[in-house]
Amino acid sequence: MKKLTIADKTFSSRLFTGTGKFGSSALMEKSLLASGSELVTVALKRVDVHEQEDDILKHLGHEQFNLLPNTSGVRNAKEAVFAAQLAREALETNWLKLEIHPDPKYLLPDPIESLKATEALAKLGFVVLPYIHADPVLCKKMEEAGAAAVMPLGSPIGSNKGLKTIDFLEIIIEQSNVPVVVDAGIGAPSHAAWAMEIGADAVLVNTAIAVSDNPVAMGQAFKLAVESGRMAFEAKLGEKSRQAEASSPLTAFLDEEQ
């Protein structure tokens, strides 16, 4: 399987994970280790940056994990830039999952503010991975603004509904010059496998692993699904046939002698 490179880092695992919603930090740690994930996102608001022994960070102190701080809670570009700078200082990484959702109910990303923030943060030297709508034009603009990857949503965050935006994801993948990470809404390993089969470079999963009855087993299940989907993509899936082959070809008469 081909390794994935984003900015200065190369990943063997194409499964990125979230760290919220687990019943305990210990369970989160075990599940994420089992998932093989090498990039884990952490909400800045959940971390106590003044605390040496922060409970969440303590459990993520493995070589396997690269931290991807996220800006969950900010409502506009200005706040995002401010939070990003604090995250960079506190967590010692210039990687950032940019999340700007002024709507706390559905947590849908603000495309306008996200684009502004991406531009500003890229200039400040951040490796920006913006969480955005599955909007192909917006993704191209993000690329131009300096995003290191784009993270279009599959369906509303936490909904477990899968790839409701499939048609747009396919266009985004077709057009993108930066890695495409399908984020949000992936509720089952089959959804993750599907995203990989259509050529997504990675997926980000949280709720489906965290709230399952057995998050460790679910972490493994997603690991296998992502690998399987990627393998299928690299091996090239057969084209889907849209209609049955006509038994008597419509143009056969052209070959017939008159």
Partner: protein, 369 residues
């Protein structure tokens, strides 16, 4: 249109009748839907839903897990003052309750903050009565500034303020405002609040609109259960919530369902809501709204709290003191009401963990203010 305009088009008795007339079939319909409306909510809080409690609890649990995961947020109330110019028939701080009053000084606020912080809390709820001369908006602003040095998230439960006053407090680190209507029964509201600024029903019912306009991040709604028919009052709370979500979509919401508790010199509840009914209400709110935070205080007893952790609740207080200085400065001052669950914050945290849930002490950072 303000909420009050919409509210004034409704008739209490008609709403009450429509709730009590809901049938089992309507409950089943509501349970089979993915998106519920206020009519479905009526069915779920109606007597007809009593037989569907287990099914409601299962759905509520699943929806809460999906949105909030296995987590419970913790907060502590910190009473700053028990001075009050209002007469409220149900409250220990009522003006006609002739007991010595006290308001914390700066040094005392620091003391209380230190004690509460040492218990592990990062989310603080500052509470006062309504005494505008001594505990006006400037006093509250000062208290917020002090508390900000200790806590990650600051909420207040104080007298309703004007829009510009809320905006002023936001600048200094305010995050959340809780303002309970007590009851949406306008005539009975007057009976329960015969004297003081609080007797102005309209100003109070307009408060969430002002909070929305002022850009307060989170608004807590609710009624005091025991004053009036809880089903009708809860319907109006839900209607208020839906109005707010539509009009102030940037704001987060939480709901509380305080049941009237014994306090110095207060009335007996007019309506008693039993535990089954409170569970029914919690689940009905969750089924109506997957995203709303549901909060449960130490008014409820140990056994009840242990069991509802998994049913839809998302935040809890623990080890609460309802008197100013109650944590360290003056433990014996006049309290607002007697709490029921007297366990310490660490005991509550252990209980939450033993249910397989993570205790979330911190879910905000002043960098986001």
């Amino acid at each position: 249109m303000s909420f009050r305009t919409a509210f004034e088009q409704e008739n209490w008795e008609a709403i009450k009748a429509s709730i009590y007339n809901k049938t089992a079939t309507q409950v089943e319909e509501a349970l089979s839907k993915e998106k519920l409306n206020l009519e479905d909510f009526k069915a779920l809080i109606s007597p007809a839903a009593a037989g569907y409690l287990e099914e409601m609890a299962k759905k509520s649990q699943a929806l809460t897990l999906k949105r909030f995961g296995k987590t419970i947020q913790m907060y502590a109330p910190m009473y700053l003052s028990n001075e009050c110019q209002n007469i409220c028939t149900y409250c220990g701080f009522s003006l006609d309750n002739k007991i010595r009053r006290r308001t914390l000084t700066d040094a005392e606020i620091h003391e209380e903050c230190k004690t509460i912080k040492a218990l592990g809390f990062e989310h603080i709820l500052l509470v006062t009565g309504e005494a505008n001369k001594t505990v006006g908006v400037d006093y509250i602003e000062n208290a917020i500034k002090i508390a900000k040095g200790y806590f990650a998230l600051i909420s207040i439960e104080v007298q309703p303020l004007d829009e510009n006053e809320y905006a002023q407090l936001m600048v200094h680190g305010l995050n959340t405002v809780l303002v309970y209507q007590e009851t949406y029964h306008k005539e009975d509201y007057k009976k329960h609040h015969p004297k003081g600024k609080k007797s102005n029903f309209d100003y109070r019912v307009d408060t969430p609109d002002r909070l929305g306009k002022a850009g307060v991040y989170k608004v807590g709604l609710g009624v005091l259960i025991g004053l009036e028919d809880w089903r009708t009052d809860s319907f109006f709370t839900a209607m208020h919530l839906k109005y707010m979500e539509r009009n102030f979509w940037r704001t987060k919401y939480s709901i509380s369902f305080p049941r009237l508790r014994p306090a110095e010199g207060i009335l007996e509840p007019k309506v008693v809501m039993n535990d089954r009914e409170l569970v029914q209400l919690i689940c009905a709110y969750r089924l109506l709204d997957e995203e709303v935070e549901l909060s449960l205080s130490t008014r409820e007893n140990q056994r009840f709290r242990n069991n509802v952790v998994k049913l839809g609740i998302t935040s809890m207080s623990a080890g609460s003191k309802t008197n100013p200085g109650g944590y360290s400065v003056e433990p014996e001052s006049l309290e607002q009401f007697e709490i029921s669950d007297e366990r310490s914050p660490s005991e509550i945290a252990e209980m939450i963990k033993s249910n397989g849930y993570e205790v979330v002490w911190k879910d905000w950072d002043h960098v986001l203010d």
